[in-house]
């Protein structure tokens, strides 16, 4: 029971951090509940499908199917997060200031919601497929689902959901004028971490071998298998032994995000002297 509880909690907690951030980012946007719920539902469904086909998936691409699949969906999530942040840099203030017709803002806003819904789906799919595989494996090994396993899994799910709720409630206590900046930074770090993780999968598949030496080892300080390590891994992409390429891609993702946000920033958001310098 404890094994099921711990594994389910660990995975739900990782996905829950991301869902909590997305909930805080979209606080107050009409229709967000539907998109987030849709993302979770699509993720759960996707997790079951991926878990069912893990064997076949692994054999694709000369045995590197899992790695390529993971790198692809992570890359997709990075694009969605970048797009969201750029979109918010352009329209966030306009929406807040009600400079746009409310109707148009909601329609535009729902595009950004779709991007975040997709990110939620990817997060739930990745963590969920491990839960499904693990629980299915335990059930198969003991010849059926036991009450202990179902109970443990259920408690793990509830505890993981509480982490999601705590993340959300913690973030929304931030005063409104800072919330936009904080959530933009969180989304940028989330994207950079996911990009670095995608690189790890490409390195593992031998698709990327350049600059793959380990740059530092902080596992003595914080192992990335510990709970705090896992939380930081999900939130900011912490790895205790990163490769050079992971660090480069992490920095490049952040830099590209910042540049795009500045390039596409709503003109009204610029102080006048910046406009004069252009």
């Amino acid at each position: 029971m404890l094994a099921a509880l711990l594994i389910v909690f660990r995975e739900v907690f990782e996905a829950g951090l991301i869902v909590g951030i997305v909930m805080a980012v979209t606080a107050g946007v009409p229709g967000r509940g539907l998109w987030i719920f849709g993302g979770v539902a699509a993720g759960v469904l996707g997790a079951c499908v991926v878990a069912m086909f893990t064997g076949g998936l692994s054999e694709l691409f000369g045995g590197s199917g899992q790695e390529i699949f993971n790198a692809s969906i992570l890359g997709f999530a990075v694009l969605m997060l970048t797009w969201h942040n750029v979109w918010m840099a352009r329209h966030g203030r306009e929406m807040a200031a009600e400079l746009r017709a409310a109707g148009e803002a909601v329609v535009e806003g729902s595009k950004s919601l779709a991007a975040l819904g997709a990110v939620v789906a990817v997060a739930v799919l990745r963590e969920g497929s491990e839960v499904v595989l693990f629980l299915y494996g335990v059930a198969a090994a003991q010849g059926g689902a036991s009450l202990a396993m179902v109970g443990g899994g259920f408690i793990g799910l509830i505890l993981g959901a509480l982490v999601c709720l705590a993340t959300y409630l913690g973030l929304v206590t931030i005063p409104a004028r800072y919330l936009f900046g904080v959530t933009s930074a969180l989304i940028a770090l989330l994207a950079a971490g996911m990009a670095a993780q995608a690189i790890a999968f490409l390195e593992q598949a031998n698709i990327l071998t350049a600059l793959d030496e380990t740059v530092w080892d902080t596992s003595w300080l914080l192992s990335d298998s510990s709970y705090l390590g896992r939380a930081l891994h999900t939130l900011i992409g912490y790895v205790d032994q990163p490769t050079a390429m992971q660090l480069i891609v992490y920095a490049a993702t952040l830099a590209v995000m910042v540049v795009l946000m500045k390039l596409f920033a709503s003109p009204a958001a610029h102080p006048p002297h910046v406009a004069a310098a252009e």
């Binding site: 692994s58 595989l133 990335d224």
Partner: protein
């Protein structure tokens, strides 16, 4: 905006450098093949040996009846291996040392790669 642009240029340059570097520096043919099995939450052998400075391919076969996740932070891999199936992970050339790998679903299930 100038500051932003210079960051952008740096980012583009990094990406370009990354793209140029992508061609493999080590071919998979040179890799040292190692293999092990997992059964009853135990790796067999529990200790693998490989020479330093050569890429390594570790083939793991799951002989147990439960899925496991073959993972190592030091050696940079994580891969799900369903029961009855096998998987290969590619490891870059290593310096001498003792590197651990484990089952991410059962951390007690641990093994080592020893590079003399």
């Amino acid at each position: 905006m100038k500051f932003g642009r210079s960051i952008g240029l740096f980012a583009l340059a990094s990406l370009a450098a990354a793209a140029v570097c992508i061609p493999r520096t080590a071919s998979a043919d040179d890799a040292v093949p190692l293999s092990l099995t997992l059964k009853d939450h135990k790796f067999d052998p529990a200790e693998l040996h490989a020479p330093a400075g050569k890429p390594i391919d570790i083939r793991v076969k799951n002989l147990g009846d439960i899925v496991f996740e073959f993972e190592s932070s030091a050696l940079h891999f994580e891969k799900i291996v369903p029961p009855g199936s096998e998987a290969v992970v590619h490891v870059r050339p290593q310096q001498p040392g003792r590197y651990s790998f484990f089952d991410d679903f059962h951390h007690e299930t641990q093994g080592f790669l020893v590079v003399p």
